[in-house]
Amino acid sequence: MKSNLKVFLKGIVDVSPLMIPVVPFGLIFGVLAIDIGFSPLETMGMSLIVFGGASQIVLLQLFSGGASSIVIISSVGAVNSRHLLYGAVVSEHLSDLKLIWKIVISYFLIDQAYAISNEYLKKNKDQNRYFHLVGAGATCWVIWQSTTFFGIILGAAIPEKLGLSFAVPLTFLALLVNDFRKFINIIVIVVSGLVATLGYNYIPFKAYAIVAGLSGLLVAMILTKIVKTNE
């Protein structure tokens, strides 16, 4: 069995390539948060407390559009509901751990760490294999906090004329690059996008993101069912 430190370091090395896209994402978040009017401390607090890139940008987007707190909080929950899947998948590797470790590891269960460590956890049966997830998660944490910090500093210096708020749809678009190749995903994307755009002014409480997201999931449920029965 490898030492805990070795497994931890392996997690850092494995997740590193996935950190490249996180850098612009964190910078954009910091810049936009300041732009919208959050204080530097609140912006840093968001990255430390929420620690979820996509949901933090959703928070900013809805906040600047004047959505109510309840809508913002449920939208953040909806965006992050994918973690339920991650947790369910990795839970079998963590079932022997003490509760305190589960509490710590949960904080680090983010997209990139899940993607890379799930592979490792499946292949290794060592008792200490979960250190890989901690290493990967901690790496993401350092990158996310430091890029947020630099974004806050840059935020004061970047002119509004550059239209950097356009980076928000672009970063989300970038997260879907692999889904544009799959038929069901394309339909889901178009349905959700249309519902959000057309309902933007008509769905009360600025809940358009939740309504659109649920419509998209409903379409996904129906389409995956149809495709399965045809096979």
Partner: protein, 104 residues
């Protein structure tokens, strides 16, 4: 609600999505069907942010003609599909947007 309260609630709900399955629920409760549908969450939710930000103007009205964001987003999508690179997608979109608003 103060900004800090909002941030803390958002953090709590996010943490619960991570912790609940690890700590409270057994894996058997998650069948393949639920797993399959949850894998569509990004495709279902991200467009709700993408589309309005591209197709609506500052006052919330649909703007199709003379909208550089649509063209820039299309270029970014194409680059994304072929490169599969997150960075290339973001920067090709931003670069085309800047060319459209400052040069053309």
């Amino acid at each position: 609600m103060s900004n800090w309260a909002l941030i803390i609630y958002c953090g709590l709900i996010t943490y619960l999505t991570r912790f609940s399955m690890i700590a409270l629920i057994k894996k058997e409760m998650f069948n393949n069907r639920i797993r399959q549908v949850l894998s569509y969450v990004p495709s279902a939710i991200f467009p709700a942010i993408i589309f309005p930000a591209i197709f609506l103007d500052n006052s919330g009205l649909i703007l199709i003609e003379d909208n550089p964001k649509i063209i820039a987003a299309l270029i970014a999508t194409l680059i994304g599909i072929f490169s599969r690179s997150i960075i290339a997608t973001i920067f090709s979109g931003l670069a085309s947007y800047w060319i459209l608003i400052f040069v053309v």
